[in-house]
């Protein structure tokens, strides 16, 4: 209810604007002949220079794929080169994967070795003797050590 005078004013404004626009539309419909003709010529010229999209249709791609599959074994002249060309990236990929695998194995073994050597060379903290599990471990391993 608070907005009703504002709304009414907005409606009146819109009505005035549309009435004015109606007069303008009536005026623009009756342009002189030479102006209309020049506009028409400009339009024709613009349309003739229209940008045409160069997107490839799905049908075209499917057809290209089909023809590639069909020519795979028939074109003898290019088949060997084509096969080598197709296999090379695959070989490179396999070699790359193997290299990554071996590098990762090496680095993991290296990390484990570092941790082991750090544990073996480090001094035993006093708190370890208070640990019941460690005491049990010492008891269990002592007979074998003394036996040796």
């Amino acid at each position: 209810m608070m907005n009703s005078p504002r709304k009414r004013a907005a409606i009146q404004q819109d009505r005035f604007g549309l009435k004015t626009a109606a007069y303008l539309s009536a005026g623009s419909a009756d342009l002189p002949y030479d102006i209309s003709e020049r506009l028409r010529a400009a339009r024709v010229q613009a349309v003739s220079k229209r940008k045409i999209a160069t997107t490839q249709t799905a049908g075209g791609i499917v057809n290209t794929g089909g023809s590639a599959a069909l020519t795979w074994g028939t074109d003898e002249g290019l088949s060997w080169w084509a096969r080598i060309g197709a296999v090379l990236p695959l070989i490179a990929l396999v070699i790359g994967l193997l290299a990554i695998n071996s590098i990762q194995d090496d680095s993991r073994a290296q990390e484990l070795a570092e941790v082991d050597s750090a544990l073996l060379t480090d001094e035993l903290p006093p708190a370890a003797f208070a640990d019941p599990g460690f005491v049990q471990f010492l008891k269990a391993t002592r007979p074998t050590v003394t036996a040796q």
Binding site: D30, S36, R40, V47
Partner: protein, 188 residues
């Protein structure tokens, strides 16, 4: 993507209004024709592959930018060659040929009485004069909003301003037009 026919139909539907709008801005028939032609060409060359639904907004923006470019070029030229004749406004009262306007109106609408046609032509002439007197941004907002029938958001996008600014420009334009027309004894 808009077909050639769709693009042509779209341009046909907007070319006359675009020409009149340009005249209200630049007040020069030749310049207005050049602006509309440039705008059509830019739309077709750069956006001819866009969907038909996107063309109106694109065209309005191109038309506004091309009009601005024209003003910038004229400003540069005026600064280089200060020629006072360029400042003369061709949109003065003296250019209005009532007989010519009456003739076209009578040809187009045979049923309309001579008195009605005269009245309509006079009102239209007054409206056009008052629209030319509006500040640029108010005129642009008013014409896009009511003549091109764009909503507030679209007008704001084309003008590169907020929706609030569009509303303010439109409101001020309507008040100014209403006041000026009332002062001339015209009531819409």
């Amino acid at each position: 993507m808009a077909t050639e026919q769709e693009l042509s139909d779209f341009l046909k539907s907007v070319e006359k209004r675009a020409f009149k709008r340009s005249i209200y801005h630049v007040r020069d028939e030749e310049a207005a024709l050049d602006i509309v032609q440039d705008s059509m060409m830019k739309l077709a060359q750069h956006y001819g592959d866009k969907p038909a639904s996107e063309l109106p907004m694109l065209f309005q923006r191109i038309l506004s930018n091309t009009t601005l470019d024209w003003f910038r070029r004229r400003k540069t030229r005026s600064a280089l060659f200060s020629n006072m004749s360029e400042f003369a406004s061709p949109g003065d009262d003296g250019d209005f040929d009532l007989l010519e306007t009456l003739e076209t109106l009578n040809n187009s609408e045979g049923t309309e009485s001579a008195q009605d046609a005269t009245e309509r032509a006079q009102i239209l002439h007054e409206i056009e004069l008052q629209i030319q007197e509006l500040p640029d941004r108010q005129r642009e907002a008013f014409l896009m909003r009511y003549w091109e029938e764009m909503d507030v958001a679209e007008t704001a996008a084309v003008m590169g301003c907020s929706e609030g600014s569009v509303k303010t420009h439109c409101s001020r334009a309507i008040h100014a037009l209403s006041k000026a027309l009332s002062a001339k004894g015209i009531k819409l």
